[in-house]
Amino acid sequence: MFKKLIDNAAAKSPWLFHINAGSCNGCDIELVAVLTPRYDAERLGFKLAGTPRHADIVVVSGPVTVQSKDRVLRTIEQVPDPKVIVTLGSCPRSCNVFKGSYSVAGPLDKYVPIDVSIAGCAPKPEAIIDGLALAAKILKEKREAMK
């Protein structure tokens, strides 16, 4: 019974850790907009965590620049299981307009498997909520698969 409760809890309280991997700030602003009174992601249990150790969902924005690559990967690794990696906007998914730049090491899926991608440049807050809800669902699946 407890296991089931805990599994359910995994979907009900996903905490985010947001990494800016060289983003133009557009997606970052939209992510913050999700926490504003109008969208209020907290009503679904989402919360921004201050450290990767507390996080369930890692939200990456930006095309993963050469400078940020190691840091992003290290931070993602520090998140305890079960974890879900979400790409916010087009950049981490495909490098977008920065494709082919000498200073870009992305896209992110070269290094880690991406669980959810949210498209948009920048995505609308509603789309972000959609994506996070999907991530929470995946989180529950991963939690159930543990042990």
């Binding site: 805990i6 995994a10 309280s13 009174p37 450290t51």
Partner: protein
Amino acid sequence: MEFTDILIYAVYILIFPGALFTCLFGLWLAGVDRKVVARMQKRKGPPISQPAWDFLKLCGKETVIPAHAARGVYLAAPYIGLASLIVTVLFIPLGGLQAFSTGADTVVILYLLTIPTLAMIFGGSASGSPFAGVGASRTMVSIMAYELPFILVILAVGKGMTPDGYYFTFSLEQITNVQSVFGPNIFDWRLLPAAVAMLLVIPCEVGQHPFDVGEAETEICEGPLVEYSGKPLAVFKLSHAIKMFVMTALFCALFLGGITTGMLWLDVVLALCFCTAVTLVSMTLLNAISARWRVEQLFKFFWTVVSGLALASLLLVWFC
């Protein structure tokens, strides 16, 4: 000791008002706090059960122990903090229901309340993270900040004046008894500044928003908790919720005690309602309307304004 006595004590310690009830009520208070903050900010807010879900979720997470950590202290700290909080609850009279009359002493509670914070400080600094070091340092400064007004409040309440004359006591039981005869302390105008000071001490001791310099998640990655994950973190979050209950219950015992209806269970329910109300007034309102303070602002505020209020109360009680 009879078997039934042991049973009653077991119920006291483990169920009501001990471990189980404390945890549940603490989580409820935390949930109410989050909900009402959200509503005050014109948001819908999370369901009241949200802290409970957070707790359960953290229980199911992996516990990563940093390679640098002093493992024993790192893992033991949260559990020691939680257990000492639960025991502290047993010492605070709750609407006339006092599980263990021995040890119901304001000074003892003042010291017992530092144990959970201390557990967090040492647990955090055992993790070996520099953020935790800064967080531990800041948390210690906030302890230093609130301790001065806190003891002044305790002395002001401890020396109350009744129509018969003075009384001097550190015993919560006696404070409650006096109030049941002469009405709650909060209606005594001389103790009003002390009550306001106490309302400001509560969020600082709990580590609630404007005064959560030690756990600032945006500046120092939640300070002492930065490396914690999984169950130990869950226990810390639970302790934080229980602290709200302990502090508000202490406030009720000091300022809102002695209101009796004749039925014990009704008194207890009433006391719990008071606890919730105090949470809303002292923590939620401040949380909703203010941004986090800098650590030196906090220290200055507590050693000047809040201590001044408490001292004013002490002087009023002494000389009026």
